[in-house]
């Protein structure tokens, strides 16, 4: 087994800076909802957050990490194979179902700016090659994000060749590496989280489509909310761990809510009339393909699970419609109205 540089990064996470508590975030309810839905239903396809500077985009994503429930993995497997479902052969030969089981944190992996392709997909283990003349594969960020989240800040600045790679792996759930004399394939299923400032560049439509939910956030304009945010931020800056302790109970509560929603999700039926409503909604908005409907329904079901409701209803659909559809509308060059307003027009016919 290789003990390459990537293991080192995991180990160093321990003394990572304290992150701002998720439940202490004020005035970004839609953002917290979107991240929670993506956690409850990984099949949603992640969240894309567009917003101005200083809106707390990355703060929210980073604070999500500490809320995530732990997952079961095959003991010692560098790819963190799922002992229950992963039937695919593991490059490390971990044994899948027959292996011993341990618990591990759900990874939230950052794709740092300046990342090169070799580290995204994985590459020849340089150290092993140089020191011992061995040809060993060193897993990349995609392997590290398997069964967790891959967060790309400034996603609209990501170089094209990395976008292509991501799209391919995100669609297939598998990372196929053929480079530097190593040929490896491993499972890489992750939830994409992206954030960016729309002023700094457009996002390619193929990548935009890949994200399940999309939000456009701005800084709150309400004075009381703004002042509260400033006060909490300063309190956090002054003593991060004291601040975290203050919110520990609320964090635990939210974590429990996420966990119970996850376990109830698959039991929730989606009634026929809700499916029809979703279809007609997408039809009137002329969204491309079926991904819109599917995402809308999955998001509605995740919301019902999160709220502890026993059935998926129209109201769930309406609450997630903006999140699920606003980035799927066809551009209408002559229509001055934004996509959110167009959804409103269909949702609330006057």
């Amino acid at each position: 087994m290789t003990r390459s540089a990537s293991t080192r990064v995991e180990a160093e996470r321990g003394n990572h800076m304290e992150s701002f508590p998720f439940t202490a975030i004020v005035g970004q309810d839609e953002l917290l909802l979107a991240l929670s839905l993506a956690t409850v239903e990984p099949l949603l396809g992640g969240v894309l957050i567009f917003g101005d500077r200083g809106t707390g985009k990355s703060t929210a994503v980073r604070s999500l990490a500490s809320l995530l429930p732990r997952m079961k993995v095959v003991r010692g497997c560098p790819y963190r194979c799922d002992p229950e479902t992963d039937g695919a052969p593991c490059p490390a030969g971990c044994g899948g179902r027959s292996g011993e089981v341990e618990e591990a944190p759900v990874p939230v992996v950052d794709l740092p700016l300046g990342t090169t392709e070799d580290r995204l997909v994985g590459s020849l283990d340089l150290e092993a090659a140089l020191a011992r003349g061995e040809r060993i594969f060193s897993p990349g960020l995609l392997a590290r994000a398997h069964r967790g989240f891959l967060y790309i800040d400034e996603v609209n600045l990501l170089p094209d060749h990395l976008v292509d790679l991501l799209l391919d792996v995100a669609a297939s759930g598998e990372n196929v590496v053929e480079r530097e004399g190593v040929g490896v394939r491993h499972a890489a299923r992750f939830v994409l989280l992206g954030s960016g400032n729309p002023e700094e560049g457009e996002l390619r439509p193929q990548l935009l489509d890949r994200f399940g939910l999309c939000l456009e956030i701005s800084t709150p304009t309400d004075l009381a909310t703004r002042t509260e945010i400033i006060k909490r931020r300063l309190a956090f800056d002054r003593d991060a761990s004291a601040f975290a302790r203050e919110y520990a109970a609320r964090e635990a509560e939210w974590r429990a809510r996420l966990e119970s929603a996850r376990s109830r999700l698959r039991e929730l039926e989606i009634p026929e009339h809700v499916i029809e409503r979703a279809a007609s909604l997408c039809q009137s908005l002329e969204t491309d393909g079926l991904r819109g409907e599917l995402t809308l329904l999955r998001a509605a079901r995740a919301l019902a699970a999160l709220d502890g409701d026993s059935a998926v209803e129209d109201r769930h659909l309406l609450r997630v419609a903006h999140l699920a559809l606003r980035h799927r509308l066809r551009r209408q060059p002559l229509d001055e109205v934004g996509s959110s307003a167009r959804i409103d027009r269909v949702l609330l016919p006057s």
């Binding site: 003990r3 580290r119 060193s138 400033i230 300063l234």
Partner: protein
């Protein structure tokens, strides 16, 4: 000569940056290169405690030099991966000086911003996967003209803003005098900085002061929430510098004058700045019920007050006004030397690089 008025404020801004660079984020220094800009940077270097690195970053730095990468020659020689730290990692615990920041590509600015926010740099390139601390603050040198301006994401993250063009002009002779003259007043910054470092933990900012900052920003249409947060930090550090235990109207007023609330495009800027100051000062007066205390520890005499030596600030400040600010000088070259690139220090990666499975 003595330092007064707006220059005294600049010195206090520098002291504030030196007290807690991480909290302040940095300084936007606008104006053409010249003795006055050199003076500000020289003051900063003298205000910083020993051992604080000051690393200069050229604007078109390549990605591998910025974040670091594989040191190929050393890697081959030692037979194991050796990390060549980038500029950001080498500046850990200190300041990164970005020359001609108004021309910085968005991609570079984004890396710098991410490092500012997280205090670390993650290298995922050339087969390396290394995380190292990079607790940096910035000095953004902005020579912007013709509508160029420093990327907004960077400006949003630095708390202090000094516009050299708005300051009384100093000749290169005066600058040299300030740096090396018999008064050596420049040297007095460091003790004040060290004293304020000790005090800052116990310096507080009241709810009323925060309300004033928050309201002032809303009134001025400043959307970003970093602006009031940074202004609060500046006000708190200013109070610590002045020997006060709590932020008062003076501190808020300083934060408004040299702080992050100045966030406007060049043309209406001057007008808006005056409004910023007025609005925040007004709000501060209204909010702060506590009477202003005059402190004997006050460092330089602020403008408008009578100087104990009766030096007459305006008279001195205007001497040599005709000297071009871009004229090279001995002091400028010296500052340039001190700012010269840090040596490329190839160092082995953290111990575990060499560990064996």
């Amino acid at each position: 000569m003595r330092i007064e008025g707006r220059w005294a404020e600049v010195r206090r801004a520098i002291a504030i940056l030196a007290i807690d660079p991480r909290r302040v984020g940095g300084l936007l220094l606008r104006g053409r290169p010249g003795p006055m800009r050199d003076l500000v940077i020289a003051w900063l270097m003298r205000a910083l405690p020993d051992g604080v690195p000051l690393v200069r970053m050229p604007v078109h730095i390549t990605e591998d030099r910025l974040v670091g990468g594989l040191a190929l020659a050393e890697t081959l020689r030692h037979g194991r991966p050796i990390v060549e730290p980038g500029v950001l990692a080498r500046a850990d615990g200190g300041l990164v000086v970005c020359a001609t920041a108004e021309r910085m590509p968005i991609a570079t600015a984004s890396v710098v911003c991410a490092t500012l926010d997280s205090g670390e740099i993650v290298v995922e390139r050339d087969g390396l996967s290394v995380r190292s601390t990079a607790r940096i603050a910035l000095v953004l040198l902005d020579e912007g003209s013709d509508g160029e301006s420093v990327p907004a994401s960077l400006r949003d993250r630095v708390a202090l803003d000094v516009d050299l063009d708005a300051l009384p002009i100093l000749s290169s002779g005066e600058v040299a005098d300030l740096l090396n003259g018999p008064a050596l007043e420049a040297e007095s910054l460091r003790p004040a900085v060290m004293a304020a470092r000790g005090r800052m933990v116990s310096t507080t900012i009241g709810g009323a002061a925060l309300d004033a900052l928050s309201e002032g920003c809303v009134e001025l249409g400043i959307g970003s929430l970093r602006a009031p947060v940074l202004a609060a930090h500046v006000a708190t550090l200013h109070a610590a510098l002045e020997g006060r235990g709590t932020v008062e109207a003076d501190d808020l007023s300083f934060a408004a004058r040299l702080g992050s609330t100045k966030r406007d495009p060049p043309s209406p800027r001057a007008r808006r700045n005056r409004r910023t100051i007025r609005v925040i000062r007004m709000r501060a007066r209204r909010k702060a019920r506590s009477p202003r205390t005059s402190s004997s520890k006050r460092l330089p005499a602020p403008s408008g007050r009578v100087c104990s030596t009766d030096c007459g600030p305006r008279r001195h400040a205007r001497v040599g006004a005709s000297v071009g600010v871009t004229a090279p000088s001995a002091s400028r070259r010296r500052v340039g030397d001190r700012l010269a690139y840090d040596r490329h220090a190839a160092m082995p990666a953290s111990g575990s690089t060499s560990s064996r499975p």
